[in-house]
């Protein structure tokens, strides 16, 4: 086990370096001139700003030296300065991280619980109408573009029915609670402001639903398959023979074992969640990293785009690593191969 973890940990810095190298390559070819990936068009005439940027990123040096400067800057957390917000990109990202985490966690909770329930029901009623309906529902979730399903749900629940608020994280008339965690829901609870808490929760529902729907499809598919595997095994027959109730057999005996393989897809769904979060945040004016990336791409704010890409890649690597290690704990066969 330790050897497995050490081996995986050792490959991490190499992969990170790879990510940074690709980022360097991309920014080097930006618009045919690396300078345009650091200095905005408006500032290009400003000789002082150009000289300062050149010195900071070592653009007057040779290519290998430029690469070293680039890696060095990233290592110290310097992702450049956003053209749009005029702030360091790393600061922008830190400010916006809690919003994205809040959304992704809510979506993950919603998507995995409903996905597991759907998978169990589908496996129990295998090949019946309810199984087919569950599969179609789940498949629709992972096939519909979130930037469309988000718009339609927003229209139905916010405009037609008026049950839920429109885009944003809070009602415009409310002021956000003191930032302790940056999660509006938790901060509102900490501040003891229930009205604020409910408003934040109401704003969270639709985007979490839209984003969670994409995860639900993947989770329910996998839970169904592994439930079917487990339900055929002798110990389930034995449990039934001993007179255990159907619900007890399904949840206590079968699901517990069927959930192990589901662990693996947490890392896998993270890729979906990031893709989904970028677009969901754009639709719901959610001030997280996703909408930051979209705004950056729309205004060709290169330092911000590259910053999000590097940080997103690193986060993706880490979640994959954590998932693999968790899975190796749960299933010894993995670490032996």
């Amino acid at each position: 086990m330790t050897r497995y973890i050490v081996r995986r940990l050792l490959s991490l810095p190499l992969l990170l370096l790879g990510i940074v190298s690709i980022a360097f390559l991309i920014s080097h070819f930006t618009q045919g001139d690396p300078l345009s990936s650091i200095v905005s068009e408006r500032q290009m005439d400003d000789e002082q700003a150009v000289a300062a940027a050149k010195a900071r990123w070592g653009l007057d040096k040779s290519l290998p030296e430029q690469y070293l400067v680039y890696v060095g800057n990233l290592l110290t957390g310097d992702l450049g300065t956003s053209f749009r917000t005029k702030q360091p990109v790393s600061q922008d990202l830190l400010e916006r991280l809690p919003a994205t985490l809040e959304l992704v966690i809510a979506a993950m909770l919603f998507g995995s619980t409903t996905g597991i329930a759907l998978g169990v029901v589908a496996a129990r009623f295998r090949d019946r109408t309810i199984d087919h309906a569950a599969r179609l529902w789940a498949l629709t979730g992972s096939s519909a573009p979130v930037f469309w399903s988000g718009l339609i749900l927003l229209y139905i629940f916010s405009v037609v029915l008026g049950w839920l608020p429109g885009p944003g994280r809070l009602d415009a008339r409310m002021s956000p609670p003191d930032g302790v965690t940056g999660f509006l829901t938790i901060d509102a609870l900490l501040a003891g402001d229930m009205a604020l808490f409910w408003d934040a929760v109401h704003h969270l529902i639709l985007p979490a639903l839209v984003l969670g729907w994409t995860v639900m499809g993947i989770v329910s598919r996998l839970v169904r398959a592994s439930m079917l595997d487990v339900l055929n095994q002798d110990y389930i027959v034995a449990a039934r023979a001993r007179g255990a109730g159907e619900l007890r057999v399904l949840l206590n005996h079968a699901l517990r074992n069927a959930l192990v393989p589901t662990l693996t897809i947490i890392g896998f769904t993270f890729a979906y969640l990031i893709t989904g979060a970028v677009l969901t945040e754009a639709i719901f004016s959610w001030t997280g990293i996703g909408s930051y990336a979209v705004d950056a791409a729309r205004s060709l704010d290169y330092p911000a785009i590259m910053g999000v890409t590097i940080v997103g890649g690193a986060a993706f690597l880490l979640t994959n690593l954590i998932t693999d290690i968790a899975y190796a704990f749960a299933d010894p066969r993995i670490r032996l191969s």
């Binding site: 790879g18 930037f147 990336a293």
Partner: protein, 282 residues
Amino acid sequence: MSDVPALPRIRVRQWPAWLKLPVLVGIAIIAFWIVACLTIDLWPIYDPIDMVGRRLQPPSADHWFGTDALGRDVLSRTLHGARFSLMMSCAVIVCAVLIGSAIGAVAGYVGGIVDGALMRLVDITLSFPPILLAMAVTAAMGPGLENAALAMVIVWWPVYARLMRGQVLSIRSREHVEAATAAGAGHARTLVKHILPLSWSPILINATMDFGQVVLLTASLSFIGLGASPPTPEWGSMISEGAIHFYQWWICSGPGIAILSVVLGFNFLGDGLRDLLDPRSK
């Protein structure tokens, strides 16, 4: 032998097991869009770029999917959009499969340092969330459909490289390959004649499944504003126009339903192909 009476040939016509209802639905959807792509100019529908009605009209007998902010027919734009979305996705998948499989096949066959280096490149590329890498590459090269397509090939080739390498590795050690080598077949011949013909089925299944994802990513990039630019009737950019006129839900719904149908269709077909070509997976 000629005096042996010919046995009456009994043909049992049986419905193929893999051709289930969802698969048929998938095939029907894909066939519809392919026909639409090829013959759209002949259809009796409005022009996709001209102003053909009043602005922002809800669906009616004249305009089944309503009209958009410039008085253009949403149905016609959606159908014409298939050309951009599907042909581009098709080009992306074909390029990614060809480049990826070629690299994967060479890596798997040659092994050693070449394999190590190529597979690290694959690992690194795959460690980016696809949409972020595609956004960064497209933005760096300059927004536009061609650059978006190129970016998506960069995102997708590693998937096929990894897949093909695995195939080649498992087939390379089989006896018929050893026999071919023993009979004096060169490396190129062994790879092309004896290994590749056996390794295409998972690639085909994956490519079919991925097609929907490529359509989604194409539309996403256009939605963000990095792909097609107006007035091109591309699904993603149409939805982004629809997002501005949010109360006119029909503007984004035509292209939204189109994307959903294509992605579902390819998922259904991919499931069917897997049942047909890879029975072990059941």
